[in-house]
């Protein structure tokens, strides 16, 4: 059953089909290009139909968790729902982490799980798990399809819910017998739900109020979250920031919404944000939060967050407003539309004095690191930024390297920084990068993991090699679970507990998968190997960077504390061997999109 057969009238609307055929046909209607999955007993009938389906590529991952993270990576860079198909029981439960991850970071996923036949549900049948019950609190919505005549409508709704409003994962549970029954196929053209109608346009009165507050600002800050990227509002945001001449800080998920090399950018804020962005937020008189949710990693102690500021909050989710921090002017709506409506209402502000204040903080406390004798992760990302001009899709894992990548890799464009923020899922990077590669095969994609996180989903190396995906796999190996070690170092009297980790020989491991691999152990090897990896054009390549074992991420605002407790890196900016990082100096390299498999190095 393909589009070809459709043209021949093989599967016209109204044609009687099995549930499995309806499923496949619905995915075609939704223009699904790639499906990440793993077959099993409960989905065997569906897989039988997929065998002859030429329109959709099915990627057989090596673990269902890999499938969900791959779908997240795909969703993050395309804005379209990532689609997963797994079997019942363990297949379904293995998707839970990825679903929870997508829920926390508002990524659109549609996860199809097989289920035991209806009559066996509740019977402790073989490979039975109540996945609808299990995922109730980590999905935007979920369904158990009990009747084949409901299947097409349910799939339509699932895609609609996943990708509209505040996006999120939707799970559809498919009992085996339902998929074998038949019904006439009718795919609804539109979705009508009286109970679900997200507000997209900002309220006029609120827009005016916001503009009044903004136009009266002397020390404004734009606090930009992942919602700006999800909404496709980077252009509108850039326009409004430049018109107001307003400094911009971004959350981890917001990186790329505003160019890191723009003079107005202050980089990331929060626990490991830049010193100057945190100082600016602490001292601002108007804080404009856009598509951000005042996460505890951003605010620290909420009572002391932006204490002098009047807060304007733009978000599509009414429940995000005044959840953690009391907001003065809320605007519920789609960030893109709200910013477009707000743009003509705001005026150019005189922020000269404010900028010089921020510049002072930046001079005193720039992002910096010790260069040599050991390799520092910071050096790797600094180098990666210079080699690529920030024009690469960076997919991180979770931990120290993630924070350093966020600090030292200059993100220029939206949808080029892919990371697990809310849930903080180790093992995310490799499978997510795989999903990215299916969506953006022509762009340089760098998967960055620590030695710990890499080992959590390293099975997906096989899938990446099988499909010759152009993923540059960077493993930052410090022999520790670095972030936990850092906390034990700073807050638990250096009593290291279960943070030292032995690893396989990553180079040999990669080679065993059929992936070329290199190891850098000295600082002078970093740049040549980064260049070599970025220039490699025949499938994946792995580079292991053996870095300083006990380096800490700074600045740091300890959990639940305030800017006054912020710790900066104990390195004199003018000290010997100290490298200062200024993203503003990143020269942007134009990449030629038609160049397949990686960027050519100038």
């Amino acid at each position: 059953m393909t589009r070809e057969s459709d043209k021949e009238g093989g599967s016209k609307s109204g044609t009687v089909m099995t549930g499995a055929e309806i499923f496949a046909r619905a995915l075609i209607e939704e223009k699904v290009e790639v499906l990440f999955g793993y077959p099993g007993g409960a989905t065997i009938g569906v897989y039988d139909v997929l065998r002859d389906l030429s329109d959709i590529q099915h990627v057989l991952t090596r673990h269902e968790q890999g499938a969900t993270h791959a779908a997240e990576g795909y969703a993050r860079v395309t804005g379209k729902p990532g689609v997963v198909l797994v079997t019942s029981g363990p297949g379904a439960t293995n998707t839970v982490t990825g679903i929870a991850d997508a829920y926390m970071d508002s990524l659109p996923l549609v996860v199809f799980t097989g289920q035991v036949p209806l009559r066996l549900i509740g019977n402790d049948a073989f490979q039975e798990a109540d996945i609808v019950g299990i995922t109730r609190q980590i999905t935007k919505h979920n369904y158990l399809v009990r009747d084949v005549t409901e299947l097409a409508k349910t799939i339509k709704e699932a895609f609609h819910i996943a990708s509209s409003g505040r996006p999120g994962p939707v799970l559809v549970d498919l009992p085996k017998d339902v998929m074998a029954r038949t019904a006439p196929f009718h795919y609804p053209a539109t979705v009508e739900m009286r109970s679900y109608n997200p507000i997209v346009e900002g309220h006029q009165k609120q827009l005016k109020k916001a503009a009044e507050v903004i136009n009266g600002a002397v020390r404004p800050v734009l606090y930009v979250g992942g919602g700006v990227i999800l909404s496709g509002a980077a252009k509108e945001l850039t326009a409004i920031a430049r018109k107001m001449s307003c400094p911009v800080t971004m959350t981890l998920q917001g990186l790329g919404a505003f160019p890191a090399n723009d003079p107005l950018s202050m980089g990331m804020l929060g626990m490991h944000g830049t010193w100057y962005s945190n100082m600016a937020v602490h001292n601002c008189d108007v804080l404009i939060a856009v598509g951000a949710r005042f996460d505890d990693r951003v605010t620290g102690k909420v009572e002391a967050f932006a204490p002098e500021a009047r807060v304007v909050h733009i978000d599509i989710d009414p429940a995000a407003i005044s959840k953690n921090v009391a907001v003065d002017v809320p605007i519920v709506g789609d960030v893109k539309r709200v910013l477009a409506s707000l743009l003509p209402l705001v005026k150019q502000l005189d922020t000269t004095e404010w900028h010089s204040k921020i510049a002072g903080w930046k001079r005193g406390h720039p992002l910096r690191y010790q260069s040599g004798p050991e390799i520092r992760a910071q050096q790797v990302f600094h180098c990666l930024g210079e080699v690529t001009g920030g024009q690469a899709i960076v997919v991180t894992d979770v931990g120290q390297h993630q924070m350093w990548a966020a600090q030292f890799f200059p993100c220029i464009q939206p949808r080029t920084f892919v990371t697990s923020g809310g849930l903080g899922t180790m093992g995310f990077s490799l499978p997510a990068a795989m999903g990215v590669a299916f969506a953006r095969p022509n762009l340089p994609i760098v998967s960055i993991s620590g030695d710990g996180g890499f080992q959590m989903n390293s099975q997906e190396m096989t899938t990446i090699v099988q499909h010759k995906l152009p993923v540059k796999i960077f493993v930052i190996n410090n022999g520790f679970l670095g972030m936990v070690r850092q906390w034990q170092d700073l807050f638990w009297k250096r009593r290291y507990s279960q943070v030292e980790m032995t690893s396989p020989d990553f180079v040999k491991l990669a080679e065993a998968h059929g992936c070329p691999a290199f190891r850098a152990t000295t600082t002078s090897e970093v740049e040549p190997l980064v260049r070599r990896a970025m220039g490699y054009s025949d499938g994946p390549v792995l580079v292991e960077f053996v870095v300083a074992p006990e380096d800490n991420v700074y600045p740091m605002i300890p959990a639940g504390q305030t800017v006054e407790e912020m710790i900066d890196i104990p390195l004199d900016p003018a000290g010997e061997g100290v490298t200062i990082f200024d993203p503003g100096s990143t020269a942007v390299v134009q990449i030629r999109k038609e160049e397949r498999h990686g960027v050519r190095i100038h």
């Binding site: 609808v132 019950g133 109730r136 609190q137 935007k140 919505h141 979920n142 158990l144 009990r146 819910i161 739900m193 009286r194 109970s195 679900y196 020390r219 100082m279 602490h282 001292n283 102690k301 909420v302 009572e303 002391a304 967050f305 932006a306 204490p307 002098e308 500021a309 989710d317 009414p318 429940a319 407003i321 005044s322 959840k323 921090v325 009391a326 204040k357 305030t562 800017v563 006054e564």
Partner: protein, 180 residues
């Protein structure tokens, strides 16, 4: 421009006392809708004093009446989170409206020939009905506001309540603003 001190303005305004709210929710009458709502309360750690569900005049819609307690920001979050559920059609915090509330209680009371008349008398005062009788027990049905139900329970406690079942409160907004 002095650096702001950490003692702050951004504290929650004067602490709002926690109080009881009656929230009426219309949801799609679908498989799972009840567990979604109950699950929301447990996942977010909200209090739930009573929850009642039943069909409405439209068979595709169920009404849930939830009595919960919290300060204003918590109640605001509860109503927003309830509304965020995909199957939720409408959420009304009746606390800010004039509304009729009723609860039904069944009370099985231990009786003897000596105590029965007094129990019947109390029942009469509360306009409760006798719905079952045996030589040693009497089962009463009473309806009213939560306070009334609390009161009859309190009055009958000395007679030994063997079993008790309460429905939880149901409520509807008043159209005519006054007692009928």
């Amino acid at each position: 421009m002095a650096s702001a001190s950490t003692s702050v303005r951004r504290s929650v305004p004067a602490p709002v006392p926690s109080r009881r709210h009656t929230i009426s929710i219309l949801v799609e009458n679908k498989f799972n809708a009840l567990s979604r709502i109950a699950g929301l309360f447990s996942a977010k750690g909200y209090n739930i004093e009573s929850l009642s569900v039943g069909p409405t005049e439209d068979e595709t819609v169920s009404r849930m009446t939830i009595v919960t307690e919290g300060d204003d920001p918590i109640i605001e979050q509860i109503t927003k989170q309830l509304h965020k559920l995909i199957d939720t059609i409408k959420v009304v915090d009746l606390t800010f409206e004039s509304f009729v509330e009723r609860e039904l209680v069944l009370l099985k009371i231990q009786t003897t020939a000596a105590t029965r008349p007094e129990i019947m008398q109390i029942a009469e005062i509360f306009r409760a009905k006798v719905v079952d009788i045996s030589p040693r027990t009497l089962t009463l049905e009473a309806t009213g506001s939560r306070q009334k139900v609390d009161a009859i329970v309190k009055m009958l406690k000395p007679f030994v309540i063997k079993e008790l079942a309460r429905t939880g409160q149901v409520a509807l907004k008043r159209e005519f603003h006054g007692e009928v």
